[in-house]
């Protein structure tokens, strides 16, 4: 537990120091990854935290991004961060509340399909109506600021604000998991039937989790729009919803750190397989390499990257005892994991 926290704090400190270590390209890349990590965290609340597999997370992300652009005055005057960010979070959360209210009445594969359908609806609204500016997307007239103190137009400022957002959400979710609300969500994930028989009205709990998740995704979308100064409908596409799911699977579901690790691993792998310097002409077919790698890692790391240290420990312990390791507590996850 203590080493875990130490490693986490170390990782966040490294991220904080990165702008002075890496190139400007590296800084932009890590900034993008941290935004994906925030989006992955939002999905982890549902998938790993509540057992709800949502296949429409990109819609909330995209709504947060479009809200950032649409509510910026075309006069070119920088909007206040204190207004712009809550609008993005609020609208994404509101849409999640509506989608959740309907989709949470279904279960299992139907839930997956309904969340996908609602996300596709949002996608086509943005894609095919004047509201969203069509396939070309829209530019952001002016980036939000906080007085003269913080101007998100500066790369270092948006990097710092992204890191602060990611840290804040990570810490708040870690605290939430240890409390009554988080534990109830965990109970719903493991055995919803029993939760209801015990006296939990599970629907409001799930709806609260869904809304929270959408709001955090909207936050990530806001950061994405501000960083790039540009939005297009692809931000709401099902490709992104699927990518985020792969991120948390790769990182290890059931762990907050898994979501962050998955976002880093996935994006860096994508960079690697696309790099012509490494793969030459094969880099044109980077999808193939990335896909094979992900299949391999899911087969070899059933608990994701977050579960890797433990997997290694158990393997070593098995070797030392001269026996094959029996995963006695395969179905068992420790209570205190963040």
């Amino acid at each position: 537990m203590k080493t875990q926290i130490a490693v986490l704090v170390g990782a966040f400190l490294l991220l904080a120091a990165w702008p002075w270590i890496g190139s400007s390209y590296g800084m932009d890349l890590v900034n993008k990854i941290m935004i994906y990590a925030l989006l992955a965290l939002s999905l982890e609340v549902l998938v790993g935290g509540t057992g709800l597999i949502c296949f429409g997370q990109a819609a909330f992300f995209g709504i947060g991004a479009y809200a950032a652009v649409k509510f910026t005055p075309s006069t070119g005057e920088a909007p206040s961060l204190l207004v712009a960010l809550p609008i993005s979070i609020g609208l994404a959360g509101l849409y999640a509340l509506a989608v959740g209210a309907l989709s949470l009445r279904t279960q299992g594969v139907y839930f997956i399909m309904v969340t996908l359908a609602f996300a596709q609806m949002a996608y086509y609204v943005v894609h095919d109506t004047p509201l969203g500016g069509g396939t070309d997307g829209i530019y952001l007239y002016a980036k939000p600021a906080l007085g003269s103190w913080l101007d998100l137009d500066k790369p270092l400022a948006i990097y710092g604000f992204t890191l602060a957002s990611l840290t804040a959400v990570f810490v708040l979710l870690a605290i939430m998991r240890r409390g009554q609300f988080g534990r109830a969500l965990d109970g719903i994930r493991v055995n919803e039937l029993r939760m209801r028989a015990t006296g939990f009205s599970t629907y409001p709990y799930k709806l609260a989790a869904f809304t929270l998740s959408g709001a955090i995704a909207g936050w990530a979308g806001f950061l994405f729009a501000v960083k790039d100064g540009f939005v297009n409908p692809e931000l709401l596409s099902w490709h992104l919803s699927g990518t985020v799911l792969i991120m948390i699977i790769l990182g290890g579901m059931g762990h907050l750190r898994g979501a962050v690790m998955g976002a880093f691993a996935f994006t860096l792998l994508e960079e690697l397989f696309r790099s012509e310097a490494v793969f030459g002409s094969l880099s044109k077919h980077w999808h193939l390499g990335l896909g094979l790698f992900i299949i391999l890692s899911v087969a070899l790391l059933p608990k994701g990257l977050a579960g890797l240290p433990r997997q290694i420990r158990e393997r070593l312990a098995g070797k030392l005892l001269g026996t094959h390791h029996i995963p006695a507590d395969d179905a068992v996850r420790p209570q205190e994991n963040t």
């Binding site: 939430m176 055995n191 039937l193 015990t198 179905a331």
Partner: protein, 252 residues
Amino acid sequence: MNGASNTVLLRGHRLTRRWGGLVAVNEVDLELHRGEVHAVIGTNGAGKSTLINLLSGQFSPSSGRVELLDQDVSLWPQPRRARAGLGRSYQRNTIFGEFSGMENCRLSAQAAQQRPWRWWQSVTSQPDLMAIARNVAQRAGLADCIDRPAGLLSHGQKRQLEIAMCLATRPKVLLLDEPLAGMGAEETERMLVLLGDLKSDHAILLVEHDMDAVFRIADRITVMVNGSVIASGNPTEIRDNELVQSAYLGGH
């Protein structure tokens, strides 16, 4: 019947459940009194588990009424009935396998005192819930293995955990679906002592196949065949009932 009406904690009135053409439970009347163990016996498929599901609110009845503490709860969903004092256990273990025994009990205690809006407060710093969890685990005889993952407990311990989780919600009525199934002699004995203990301040419905246990502990027995009640009375009456003898008990 005997007993003042204020001791009737749960009443099923002409409860019926149809699945298509099949009548799983047919016009069943049932009263559970505080201080009594009311056993429901019958062959497999007689509708005993369906009856528990109707009473607890997992299914809604096709017709009929359920009254809990003199209140009509027929339209209440299951969680609300549970919070009003109706605890149930399942025939097949439905514990939270990957949580510790302690967390299983604590989460159940939380159900009766939900404060999700205090999301930042760690559950380990809520001593009331921890105390209840420890207490019910001890009552059910689980004090030694409370920290182990529930999925790794023995079958008998899982059955005990089911009961402990029920008790953690501080119910007034207990609906127990075959709590003795698959238990060894020693575990059965311990469970029967516990039920006898619980009886004084609870109304208990016991669905059970172990006839020795039923006749030892039940104050009242209802016999179901094909969804209908064919007899109801005290153990002596049931033992002497010819219809029951031929339909179910055989040489018992």
